[in-house]
């Protein structure tokens, strides 16, 4: 048995080492040296990025495909604006509206934390399948059951999709907001499907990790207390946001590419750890709307690994978020918000 294991081990090693060599070309080395020299004499280098954008252009048409959330259960979906984000994870920053954290909304406990109350929706049989226009295995199908005695409408809930279960604690994990079906009758079960953009896929474009989905009330304060369960707590970071700017990305065949620049500063007298932070980015029509509210375009984003793991008192760092939003949404007329939250201590409620 041990011998067989050793053989297999050897076989794996030999096979993987036979993979074609990826050349590190002389031209590339030269390019890097030239760029390095430019940087060392403080001349901003543009070479790489220009090249990348230029090369990207021919690909953008097909690109569009990925971005929206597709369908809904066969019976439901009529008109859907992808803006509210079943799909695209993205980043952004926030500006003013701390008012959205007012305690009147049960979605936010206080100025320091958001409380996300689970909606009485059971998520079952999550699987990956195909719908026309999407790679096989890239569409999430699931069955949603309304466990309550009242109709649950799309405007009342939002979902959080995650992959890899426990790794919600790590930077590897993919998290995204999703919308819900148009409505679910009391105790009814509907099939719901959507295409999560940016989720972990294999070479064929099929989703490759275990998915979890949970739904939460958009405005829990409007919901009878007997429909509340223990909330998921998203504690806000003390890091402050400033210098926000929203820029257009390249033109896409479908959807809008938007880049958000922001600066984060540690205003406290203590070092703040950043590795456990998530950025919640949302665009709202009303300045005080929180991200849980219906009609906002919301995104979840991990912070880039390039930022420091620890932010000293008074220190700042710049972050750039790239968002792919719905094509029918005028993001530039909306109020942008960004809030850093600590990764939840409890993962989104897994489906049974």
């Amino acid at each position: 048995m041990q011998h067989e294991d050793d053989d297999m081990e050897q076989k794996i090693r030999q096979t993987l080492q036979k993979a074609g060599k990826v050349p590190f070309r002389e031209q590339l080395q030269q390019r890097i040296l030239e760029e390095a020299e430019r940087q060392l004499v403080n001349v901003p280098g543009l070479g790489v990025k220009k090249r990348r954008w230029f090369r990207l252009l021919p690909n953008l048409t097909a690109a569009a495909a990925v971005f929206c959330v597709i369908a809904v259960g066969a019976w439901l979906y009529t008109q859907k604006k992808p803006q509210a984000g079943p799909i695209a994870p993205s980043g952004a920053f926030s500006s003013a509206s701390q008012g959205s954290l007012a305690s009147t909304s049960t979605s936010s406990l206080s100025k320091d934390a958001y409380l996300l109350y689970p909606a009485p929706i059971t998520v079952q049989h999550i699987r990956f399948g195909q719908l026309p226009g999407w790679p096989a295995g890239s569409v999430v199908f699931t069955q949603l059951t309304n466990e309550s005695n009242r109709i649950i409408k799309k405007s009342e809930i939002f979902g959080i999709l995650s992959f890899s279960g426990k790794s919600v604690q790590s930077r590897d994990n993919f998290l995204s907001f999703v919308n819900g079906p148009k409505e679910i009758a009391p105790h009814a079960t509907v099939t719901w499907s959507f295409h999560p953009v940016g989720a972990p896929v294999n070479a064929a474009g099929a989703l490759s990790e275990q998915a979890q989905l949970a739904f939460y009330w958009s405005n829990a304060s409007d919901i009878p207390s007997n429909l509340h369960d223990s909330p998921l707590v998203w504690r806000q970071s003390s890091i402050l946001l400033s210098n926000i700017s929203v820029l257009n990305g390249p033109t896409l065949a479908r959807g809008q590419a938007i880049t958000v620049d922001a600066q984060f500063t540690n205003p406290t007298k203590q070092t703040i750890v950043t590795h456990n932070l998530l950025a919640v980015v949302w665009f709202s029509n009303m300045p005080n709307q929180g991200f849980t509210e219906y009609g906002t375009a919301r995104f979840l984003e991990h912070l880039p690994s390039s930022i420091p793991n620890k932010l000293a008192p008074g220190a700042s760092f710049d972050v750039q978020f790239h968002v792919i939003g719905g094509e029918n949404t005028d993001y530039f007329s909306m109020t942008p918000h960004v809030q850093l939250v600590e990764l939840p201590t409890q993962v989104p409620t897994p489906s049974p």
Partner: protein, 182 residues
């Protein structure tokens, strides 16, 4: 005096950069390719990695192994790329790039060779979480401890992922006729 010192420092940095590229350039681009499945992108990432290493040159001196450090930068850069909106668009476009100038023939040949490479195809069918460990362990021959440093995870997680990765690769090997399934 200061300016002369700065110049020495710059020369020292450039010399280090050349050494890194010579010693580890191949490993960096190979590892980047295992993430992004795109030769051009792997090149861009390799460039980013070395330039970033240059900017962190002073802090790097406190680190242990330059290769482990460079591979960690590579892993992080690849993950940032995968999460960026660019990849959300590029990933679904599996068509090879069609337009090349004559001066890029060599590049085209490399791309075609890599795209046809069955072993790379097999590697890229493995979920990323396991692929990154698999490539580091078997292809790059890094130890569990080094992989843990590179991926910033615990050694126990490395062992767990490696165990799962072996199952995936074994299935792929058997499916692809690379082994007699002993």
């Amino acid at each position: 005096m200061n300016s002369q010192r700065e110049q020495w420092l710059q020369e020292e940095k450039l010399a280090a950069l050349k050494d890194w590229m010579k010693l580890y350039g191949q490993d960096v681009i190979q590892y980047a390719y295992s993430y992004v499945k795109d030769y051009h992108q792997a090149e861009d990432i390799a460039q980013d990695v070395f330039l970033k290493a240059l900017t962190q040159y002073d802090t790097f001196r406190q680190e242990s192994s330059p290769k482990t450090w460079l591979m960690a930068i590579t892993a992080n850069r690849c993950k940032d790329y995968i999460r960026s909106w660019k990849v959300k668009h590029e990933e679904i476009n599996e068509q090879p790039i069609q337009t090349f100038s004559t001066s890029e023939n060599v590049e085209r040949e490399v791309i075609e060779r890599l795209e046809k490479d069955e072993i790379w195809q097999m590697i890229q069918r493995i979920p990323l979480k396991y692929r990154e460990v698999l490539v580091l362990f078997y292809q790059q021959e890094r130890s569990g401890q080094e992989i843990a440093q590179i991926l910033q995870i615990s050694e126990a997680s490395v062992r767990t992922r490696l165990h799962r990765a072996r199952s995936f690769i074994k299935t792929e090997l058997e499916k692809g006729g690379f082994t007699d399934a002993t």
